[in-house]
Amino acid sequence: MTAATIQGKTGPWEMVIGLEVHAQVVAKAKLFSGAAADFGAEPNSQVSLVDAAMPGMLPVINAYCIEQAVKTGLGIAGAINRRSIFDRKNYFYADLPAGYQISQYSDPIVGRGAVTIDLPGGVSKVIGVTRLHLEQDAGKSLHDRHPTLTFVDLNRSGVALMEIVSEPDMRAPEEAALYLTKLRSILRYLGTCDGNMEEGSMRCDVNVSVRRPGEDLGTRCEVKNVNSIRYVRQAIEHEAGRQIAILEAGGGIDQETRLWDPVKGETRSMRSKEEAHDYRYFPDPDLLPLVLCEAEVARIEGSMPELPDAKKARFVAAYDLSAYDAGVLVADRETADFYEGVARGRDAKLAANWVAGDFFAFLNKSGKALAEAPVDAGRLGGLIDLIGDGTLSGRLAKEVFEAMWESRESALQVVERLGLKQISDTGAIEAAIDAVMARESGKVAEYRSGKEKLFGFFVGQVMRATAGKANPALVNDLLKRKLGG
């Protein structure tokens, strides 16, 4: 955890951070046209005449995108605006075919909301959300395909985005990372954005300024193109450092847009900033105000899944988990569902240990997605059942789990195939103990004369004699009794 203040040469500084997240709405078609919104198609193959801004083409809004934005708004405790307006944001760029982007300016679909982040040490912090609005994505310019030309692909042109703007409430790179992680988790729970930063379906611009603790806000810079959570941390760290260095050298910060260069690990001024932008926003006369009725918002509210914060609270209460464990398990909906599949009707704590422990260790090592794991929730539950009824010791269970991962068999099948069933037959264990005591009579005498440390040695010998299958609790009991003589 980065401290709330950072030490410069001339004293402490505080970072002030706000995030603008562009989240691609999960939908089949684009925001204002019927072209597909999929990722990775052949250039210009998912472009309608509307997306290419051919003369006389008109936008018609996708109903589902409205629903998705409302759902997201409710998911971040946002105020749903019953009347919102689509505006044109006018600027020229090769991949902006109409010369304007349809966006929402003064009347967004969602007003103030909040996202709660969990800081280490069990402290949580509320990060304010200023607004969420719907807008179109631009196309893509490819600058590296030709020595003198830029190529333009309009497949993304018109794809629905939600821009989610936070308040400047974050004070450390780690808080920004936690906010972004939490927001992504909420979006994924809702199914309104897949949160895939590599494919660009979630993108982030970071606003950073620094100030002396307690003073007024400093001049901020907007850092664009920060497209992973790791880069968010690095970009903030670098940008704050850059600003502090300038201020400490007696300079001033220019309010500007900067670009994150992930290769060099630094932010740089954008070269194409010849003039100040003047977007000339005005209501799009091709569209009418978007009016949401109470019943519609209520219906969407009724379809909301349980969100991470509520789920975490329930896990803590119902399964008696620590806040930390619960937090880990609810980070994404699949994991939480998986966990509940394992824990239902079983020892919830043991289930949490297995899911967060061995299971995730194997999953991460295999690089597989949860849905592709060779051990599903039912099988993992079966394994825990065998531990519970004494069939398997913890140590054997690990062995069984490893075999299950390899063979995709159930725990019972593995136990039977490998004959790993725990020995709980008192007679067999007593026989093994007797044999060990006979062989190690000297040690028995030492133990009995007070060298009780040797108890572990005897346990080991008995376990070895039974190939590890003896029920450890029984071994303990019987050994104590026999050695005690």
Binding site: E42, V47, L142
Partner: protein, 95 residues
């Protein structure tokens, strides 16, 4: 609000239109005349009047989320002044 040549040049730049220097004076005069003519609106009392942005008194119509369009790259590119390999092409942009 008087419009000067610099304003006209700035607005022309914003609109991405080259205006020959020779035309700038005449254009400044014309625009100035038009702008001062429309400024008579200032005398209308519009206190409490909502601006009219649309004439139509219906709800914003919505389209179902279905892929019904696209898939005709050749149509999209048919009129392009310069195209290559399925892309539109423009002079190289340096960001």
């Amino acid at each position: 609000m008087a419009i000067d040549k610099a304003t006209v040049a700035k607005v022309a730049a914003l609109a991405r239109m080259r205006v020959p220097e020779a035309e700038l004076d005449a254009l400044t005069g014309e625009l100035g005349q038009i702008i001062s003519w429309v400024e008579q609106l200032a005398e209308v009392d519009t206190t409490g009047v909502e601006p009219m942005t649309s004439v139509v008194a219906v709800d914003l119509p919505r389209r179902p989320d279905a892929v019904t369009d696209g898939g005709y790259c050749e149509k999209v590119l048919a009129n392009a002044p310069q195209g290559m390999a399925g892309f539109f092409a423009v002079p190289k942009v340096i960001e």
